[in-house]
């Protein structure tokens, strides 16, 4: 095509397409949901089928506090993204760091629970079917929380250096989508492990 008149018809007056960052993150969330679904199915399938060892009702303690931490971090990250969209960088930074702290608390809670399960009750991934499915499912979720925290930290570092402004709010929203997903998965895992599975 050289410098001749454009042979194509006239463009429509409005032509807006979805944001590719959000579409891509939605795609990733769908794929990850499928992975988690399979682990949840395995967990539910094996409920009550362990041939030996500690059972869920014997050893599990409902992690109410750390669940509240994680779920409220969804509220704080939502607030942070909203603040950045309104160019309130200070509020954004504060809420963002609070999100990281709450996420970190959740991981600490998981670590504490695992320590208790391993050393007090002798439940490991190889103990029985409950051990295998529990550590895999909660561990997979914990891995995703960790990955999310790393990404949040990277943004925090750039924010502290003053590089995150209203123009970046779109990218921050995409990251927030991921964080909401991680929280939603926890709701499912919590229900399956601590409510249904006992």
């Amino acid at each position: 095509m050289s410098a001749m008149a454009n042979p194509f018809p006239e463009a429509p007056t409005t032509w807006s397409l979805p944001d590719r960052g959000k579409v891509a993150m939605a795609g990733l969330i769908i794929a990850e949901s499928a992975i988690f679904t399979i682990f949840v199915v395995a967990y539910l399938f094996y409920v009550g089928k362990s041939l030996s060892g500690p059972t869920p009702s014997e050893v599990l303690e409902t992690p109410i506090l750390y669940t509240i931490c994680l779920l409220s971090s969804s509220l704080t990250i939502h607030g942070a993204a909203k603040s950045l969209a309104r160019d309130r960088v200070g509020a954004f930074l504060g809420l963002w760091l609070l999100t990281i702290a709450l996420g970190g608390l959740f991981l600490y809670g998981t670590a504490q629970e695992w320590h208790r399960l391993i050393y007090k009750h002798g439940l490991t991934i190889s103990t029985n079917l409950f051990g295998t499915t529990y550590y895999s499912l909660v561990g997979l979720h914990g891995f995703h929380v960790t990955a999310g925290l790393v990404m949040l930290l990277v943004v925090a570092i750039f924010a502290l250096a003053g590089r995150v402004r209203m123009q970046e709010s779109r990218r921050v929203e995409v990251l927030a989508m991921y964080w909401h997903f991680v929280d939603a998965v926890w709701v499912v895992v919590f229900t399956v492990v601590y409510v249904l599975g006992r």
């Binding site: 194509f8 018809p9 006239e10 463009a11 429509p12 590719r20 891509a24 499928a34 992975i35 991934i125």
Partner: protein, 557 residues
């Protein structure tokens, strides 16, 4: 292939040192180059897996043959199946999607070029890792640790107790890695199609190739993940003492089967849907008519996408599910044949009343239609659970899926290569060599895979390195093997054609086929930026409108 320099009339372009060209290709994020890399990578593995198949067929030529040991044979069919599905089928189709989707929707590149490159190299790493197993640990003598558990890797055969060493680990890890690459590319394709279409290209005006790759990518997201999950579970079993599939600890071998086939069945639709896309672009052009029933073709594909998620246990009709489960999967399997049949009828309707040109892409497309019809019908037989109790796990199934995968996917890919090679390289493939390729391949294909149904009906099971004489399988296996060699000769003609035409083929020009989609509006090969001016479209066949301004499609849509 495409020069990275901008073409400026009257200016000499100096020859670049080969190292620079190599560096450009290795670091490229251009969707066209990545597309070519995917396709070349896949063609390499087509030859490798093809050689594996030939060795298998030599071993099976005669009963009690000793060409290879049982250990080597079991590795061969594992490698052949895994390679063809994951390192030939998926890459070549992703390659075409990469190359064509941005061009057909009027975009300058994919939505995420760097993710695109990363996904390609991840997939490539997977293939490399898989074949590294041949030299891992014990080296080439004894084929090292090549996986020998079959491409479906059923538990508990894959447990440490029954698969010592690392062969199964290579299988799991190679596919985990390339699976991440596939998910990355699928996300990229979806984002590109939804967010980067040129002005005027509403979803209802998109070429069917774009639609079908959208559906295929959605399916990749949902169905590759179960395989990833299952493989993570397998690795946990093998290395962390987990019991997911440990039947001694109360685990279930069936669970692996369910997870694998929840991936495995949509996977074969993932492989065929892009070939449906090729048919939907090629058949109209060589029939000189638009595709018959565009909206129905879209609806049927979406329908296939959804229904194919519900059929997976027809691969498990022998495992002892109860009669209600078997009946359920019978009806869903047969149901998915309805939209597939509708597509065949629509292609027939496209050809009907047309003026068919029998160029090589059309020859392969016609072969596809006949073969996919037969494959679909043997699929209906296999979908009937009671009938399948005899047919499954026998050579009837091997014949059926090779009919779909070779007669369908490979023929579709050949059609696509002959059709788009001029666009990619700027040169036409040789018609005479192409016809030799086609006819030799058709004859070899039918000799092998038509006859292969019969040993299955006579009780020959799958995955056996040898068989007893006097079961009625001897002569059939011999002829089947001969057919395989005829196909190999056809592939040689094909490879020769690719190389000779690249060096000496006739110049193609922008639009050698008089086609109607946007990729034919730019030069062959296209410039790196694709479109100097972003196009706008008002119908499904923008170039038809341009060539026939007195009677544009936009009037009828």
């Amino acid at each position: 292939m495409s020069s990275s320099a901008i073409t400026i009339p009257g200016v000499q372009i100096e020859d670049k040192p080969w190292v620079d060209t190599l560096h450009e290709w290795v670091t490229t994020v251009d969707h066209k180059r990545l597309g070519v890399l995917y396709i070349l990578y896949a063609l390499l593995f087509l030859v490798v897996a093809g050689v594996e198949a030939l060795i298998i067929r030599i071993q099976l030529m005669f009963p009690h043959n000793h060409f290879v040991s049982p250990q080597v044979f079991n590795r061969l069919f594992t490698m052949h199946g895994t390679t063809m599905v994951f390192f030939m089928g998926m890459p070549i189709l992703f390659g075409f999607a990469n190359y064509l989707v941005p061009l057909m929707i009027g975009a300058r590149d994919m939505a995420f070029p760097r993710l695109n490159a990363f996904s390609f190299w991840l997939s490539a790493l997977g293939g490399f890792l898989f074949y590294f197993s041949l030299v891992g640990a014990n080296g080439l003598y004894g084929a090292g640790n090549a996986p020998d558990v079959g491409w479906w890797a059923y538990a508990p055969l894959t447990a440490r107790a029954f698969s010592a060493g690392h062969s199964t680990d290579y299988w799991a890890l190679a596919l985990l890695v390339s699976g991440f690459g596939s998910i990355g590319t699928a996300i990229n394709i979806i984002a590109t199609i939804l967010c980067m279409r040129c002005p005027g290209m509403k979803l209802s005006r998109m070429p069917l190739l774009a639609w079908l790759n959208l559906v295929m990518s959605g399916m990749v997201l949902i169905s590759v993940s179960p395989l990833t999950a299952a493989q993570i579970m397998l690795v946990i079993d093998r290395y962390l003492g987990g019991h997911f599939f440990d039947t001694q600890a109360g685990g279930s071998a069936m669970l692996w089967m369910h997870f694998f086939w929840i991936f495995g069945h949509p996977e074969v639709y993932i492989l065929i849907i892009p070939c449906f896309a090729f048919m939907s672009e090629i058949i109209p052009v060589f029939s000189r008519k638009p595709i018959f029933g565009y909206p129905v073709m879209v609806a049927a594909t979406v329908c296939i996408g959804f229904v194919s998620m519900s059929v997976w246990a027809h691969h498990m009709f022998s495992v002892g599910m109860n009669s209600y489960a078997n009946s359920f999967f019978t009806i869903t399997t047969m149901a998915v044949g309805v939209p597939t049949g509708i597509k065949i009828f629509n292609w027939l309707g496209t050809m009907w009343g047309g003026r068919i040109q029998f160029k090589v892409p059309m020859l392969f497309s016609i072969g596809f239609l006949f073969q996919f019809l037969i494959a679909g019908l043997t699929g209906v037989m296999l979908g009937s659970a009671a009938f399948a109790s005899q047919l499954t796990l026998s050579y009837f199934v091997v014949a059926h899926f090779h009919y779909t995968l070779v007669g369908g996917v490979v023929f579709g890919v050949f059609a696509a290569i002959y059709y788009w090679y001029p666009k990619i390289t700027g040169r036409m493939l040789n018609e005479t060599l192409g016809k030799w390729h086609f006819w030799l391949f058709v004859i070899g294909f039918h000799l092998t895979f038509d006859l292969m149904h019969i040993p299955g009906l006579l009780g020959m099971p799958r995955r056996i390195y040898t068989y007893e004489p006097g079961r009625g399988w001897d002569t059939l296996n011999l002829i089947i093997s001969i057919g395989a060699f005829i196909q190999a000769i056809a592939i040689l003609a094909f490879v020769a054609n690719l190389i000779i035409s690249y060096l000496k083929g006739a110049k193609a020009g922008n639009d050698p086929w008089d086609a109607w989609t946007l990729e034919w509006s730019i030069s062959s090969p296209p410039p790196p930026y694709n479109f100097a001016t972003v196009p706008t479209v008002a119908s499904r066949r923008p170039l038809w409108d341009l060539k026939r301004p007195e009677d544009p499609d936009s009037r009828y849509e």
